[in-house]
C-alpha cells in the first residue's frame, strides 16, 4: 500500500507490512495528565500525513514519541509500540542512529549558534563526513532543496541567527534534509513564516514526498488540505479519525466532530 493508495481501511496487517511507521496503542502521559490516548496510526511510505487538531490535542507529543525525544523531557511517559521499518523503536540499540534518520522541523526556527554552512554541515559531520568538497556539495544541495541557496550562497559564513525568520525556517529544513532522513516531521513549521515563503516551502515538501515520508502537524486546516495525502484529526488526546484528505474535505467523515473542526465550528 503506497501513497494515495486504497482509501482508509484495508487489511491492517498488510498495512503494517508496507508502512514506514506503525503506531500501536500509543499513550502519552505527563504525570497525571494524559496527552494522547491509545493512538493507532500508520505512516505510509512516500506520503504526507497531515495531523490537525486544536491546541492540546497531543499532536506535538505524538511527534516527540516518534524519534524518542521524550527521553529528555522529565515526566513524559510513553506507552505502546512504535515500529520504524518494522523495528520497535524502544528496542533499537542506538537511539542516535534512529534520530539521524528522522528529520525534525520545530515550530520556531532554531538556528543553532553556528554559521549557515555549519548548521547544514553539522549532521553530515556527526555521521562522519570529513571531506570538505563532499560537505560543500551536501550543503549546497540541501540549501537548494530548501529554496534558500540563492539567498544565502554569498554569506554561508555568517551566523544562521542573522537570517530572517523565514530564511531561518528554511535553514532548519535544509538542516533536516542534510540528515538524509527517511521520515520528516514538521511541527507547525509555518508559524513564524510569511505566506509567500510558506508556499515555497510547501512546494518543496510536495517534491520531497518522492523520497521520504512526511508528517505535517499543522494548525492550518487548509495547509493539510493543500499538502496531505491523508489527514489525521486529534482532539484532546483522542485520535478521532484518519482518512484520505480528499474524502475528509469533501465531507465524508466518520465522526461529525471532524467535520465541525475543518469547517471551523470549534477549536
Amino acid at each position: 500500500m503506497v501513497a494515495g493508495g486504497a482509501p482508509n481501511g484495508g487489511g491492517a496487517s498488510a498495512e503494517a507490512l508496507s508502512a514506514k511507521v506503525v503506531v500501536q496503542n500509543l499513550t502519552i502521559r505527563y504525570g497525571n495528565h494524559v496527552a494522547l490516548r491509545g493512538l493507532d496510526l500508520s505512516i505510509r511510505r512516500n506520503e504526507i500525513l497531515g495531523v490537525i487538531g486544536p491546541a492540546g490535542s497531543g499532536k506535538t507529543s505524538f511527534l516527540r514519541a516518534l524519534n524518542r525525544m521524550d527521553e529528555f523531557i522529565p515526566g513524559m511517559e510513553v506507552e505502546g509500540r512504535i515500529t520504524f521499518d518494522g523495528r520497535d523503536i524502544r528496542r533499537v540499540r542506538n537511539v542516535y542512529a534512529l534520530r539521524s534518520r528522522i528529520g525534525v522541523v520545530f515550530p520556531l526556527p532554531v538556528g543553532l549558534p553556528l554559521t549557515v554552512y555549519e548548521n547544514v554541515a553539522l549532521a553530515p559531520r556527526l555521521r562522519g563526513v570529513r571531506k570538505g568538497s563532499e560537505l560543500d556539495e551536501i550543503v549546497e544541495r540541501c540549501l537548494r532543496r530548501a529554496a534558500l541557496w540563492e539567498e544565502v550562497k554569498d554569506r554561508l559564513d555568517s551566523l544562521g541567527s542573522l537570517l530572517s525568520g523565514g530564511q531561518q525556517q528554511r535553514l532548519t529544513i535544509a538542516r533536516a534534509l542534510s540528515q538524509e532522513p527517511d521520515l520528516l516531521l514538521l511541527d507547525e513549521f509555518s508559524i513564524a513564516v510569511d505566506p509567500v515563503t510558506t508556499m515555497r516551502i510547501e512546494d518543496v515538501l510536495k517534491d520531497l514526498k518522492n523520497e521520504m515520508s512526511i508528517v505535517l502537524v499543522t494548525n492550518l486546516v487548509q495547509q493539510a488540505r493543500r499538502l496531505a495525502d491523508r489527514t489525521a484529526f486529534f482532539l484532546t488526546g483522542e485520535h478521532v479519525e484518519t482518512s484520505d484528505t480528499a474524502r475528509i474535505f469533501s465531507g465524508i467523515v466518520k465522526d461529525p466532530r471532524t467535520h465541525d473542526y475543518i469547517e471551523g465550528r470549534f477549536g
Partner: protein
C-alpha cells in the same frame, strides 16, 4: 476616600505621602547602588596613598621585579625584591588552575547537562556549600592532612609547598568556577539541545558541538573569576605554601605568596615605615592584577549578554 482627600490626591501641586516615599526610596537605592564606586575608589586611594609614597622614594623597579631578596627588616641594608613573591603567587595560582579548570568544567557539564532531578539539585546545593567553606578551613586541611600525605606519597622532606597550596587552592576555587560555568551552560537555550539531538547527535556531541561553543564566553569568564579568586587568596597560601622566600625549581619547593607576605608582616611593621609602605606597594600590585582579571571577566560576560539580547555575535 472622602471627597477632600480625593481632591488632594488629584491636585497637581500637592505632594502626598507616596510622593515623598518614592523620593526617599530613590535616594536610598541610589546611595546603595553607587556606594560600590565610592568603596573601590576609597580603597584604591588608601592603598595608593601608602604605597605610592614608597614607589616614588625608595622604590627601585629593577630590584622590586628583578630580585628575590625581600629583606625589609635588615637594619643595615633593607631590600625589597618581590620577584620570589610574584613567582610564588603565580606558581600556586597556575597549579591551582591546572587542578580546578578541568575539575570544575567537568562538574559543571555533569550538573548542567547530565544530572537530572534530585541528583542535580543536591549537587548544586553541595557545590554551593563547598564554595562557602572558610578559607582557613582549607588552609588547615593543607597544613595538616595534605602536608603529611605529600611527605608520604612523594617521599619529600616537607609537604608545605607549591603542590600543596596549588591543590588546596584549586579545590577551593573549583566550586565557584563550577557554579558560574553551570550558569553559563544553563543560559544556552534548550531549543539548541533539542535541535542537535533531533539531528542524531549523541549527548557528548551536543555538548561539544553546540552547548560549549554557545556558552564559551561564560566559561571563559568562570575561569577568569577563578583565577582572580586564586590570585587574591591569602589564608590557604599562607598556611599551605611553606611561606619561605624561594624561586621554586619544582612543585615540591616551598614558596611565599604576595598576599601571605602582607598578611604575615603588616602587623609587625611601624606605620609609615619603608617596610609598611613597601607592603602597600605589594597591595597595589595585587589590586591592579585582580582588577584587570575581574574587568576582563566582566567584559566577556557583558559580551554574552549583549549577544543574548540582540542575537548578534
Amino acid at each position: 476616600m472622602n471627597p477632600q482627600a480625593l481632591a488632594r490626591s488629584r491636585d497637581f501641586d500637592h505632594r502626598g505621602r507616596a510622593w515623598y516615599a518614592d523620593r526617599a526610596v530613590t535616594v536610598f537605592v541610589f546611595i546603595g547602588g553607587t556606594s560600590a564606586i565610592l568603596f573601590i575608589g576609597g580603597i584604591f586611594a588608601f592603598i595608593a596613598r601608602e604605597g605610592l609614597g614608597f614607589v616614588f622614594t625608595e622604590f627601585d623597579a629593577g630590584e622590586f621585579f628583578g630580585s628575590i631578596a625581600w629583606r625589609p627588616t635588615s637594619a643595615l641594608d633593607a631590600t625589597y625584591g618581590a620577584l620570589a613573591l610574584i613567582v610564588g603567587t603565580a606558581s600556586i595560582t597556575g597549579l591551582a588552575m591546572v587542578v580546578s579548570i578541568p575539575f570544575s568544567l567537568a562538574a559543571a557539564v555533569f550538573i548542567g547537562e547530565f544530572a537530572r532531578g534530585r541528583v542535580r539539585e543536591t549537587l548544586k546545593v553541595l557545590v554551593e556549600l563547598l564554595a562557602a567553606i572558610p578559607s582557613v578551613v582549607w588552609g588547615f586541611i593543607g597544613f595538616s592532612i595534605m602536608n603529611s600525605l605529600i611527605i608520604d606519597i612523594f617521599d619529600v622532606p616537607i609537604g608545605l609547598n607549591v603542590l600543596n597550596a596549588g591543590i588546596i587552592l584549586g579545590l577551593m576555587a573549583a566550586p565557584i568556577m563550577t557554579t558560574i560555568a553551570e550558569d553559563a551552560l544553563k543560559a544556552v537555550p534548550d531549543g539548541y539541545r533539542e535541535a542537535a539531538e533531533a539531528l542524531g547527535a549523541t549527548r557528548w556531541q551536543v555538548i561539544r558541538k553546540v552547548v560549549i561553543p554557545a556558552a564559551k564566553n561564560g566559561l571563559v569568564a568562570a575561569v577568569l573569576l577563578g583565577v582572580g579568586r586564586g590570585f587574591g587568596e591569602t589564608m590557604v597560601v599562607l598556611m599551605a605554601s611553606g611561606h619561605s622566600i624561594n624561586l621554586p625549581d619544582s612543585v615540591f619547593d616551598s614558596v611565599r605568596a604576595l598576599t601571605a607576605t602582607i598578611a604575615a608582616e603588616l602587623g609587625e611593621t611601624a606605620v609609615g615605615s619603608d617596610h609598611f609602605r613597601a607592603l602597600f606597594t605589594l597591595g597595589i600590585l595585587l589590586f591592579l592584577v585582580t582588577f584587570a582579571i575581574n574587568l576582563a571577566a566582566d567584559i566577556i560576560m557583558r559580551g554574552i549578554r549583549r549577544k543574548g539580547e540582540r542575537g548578534r555575535p
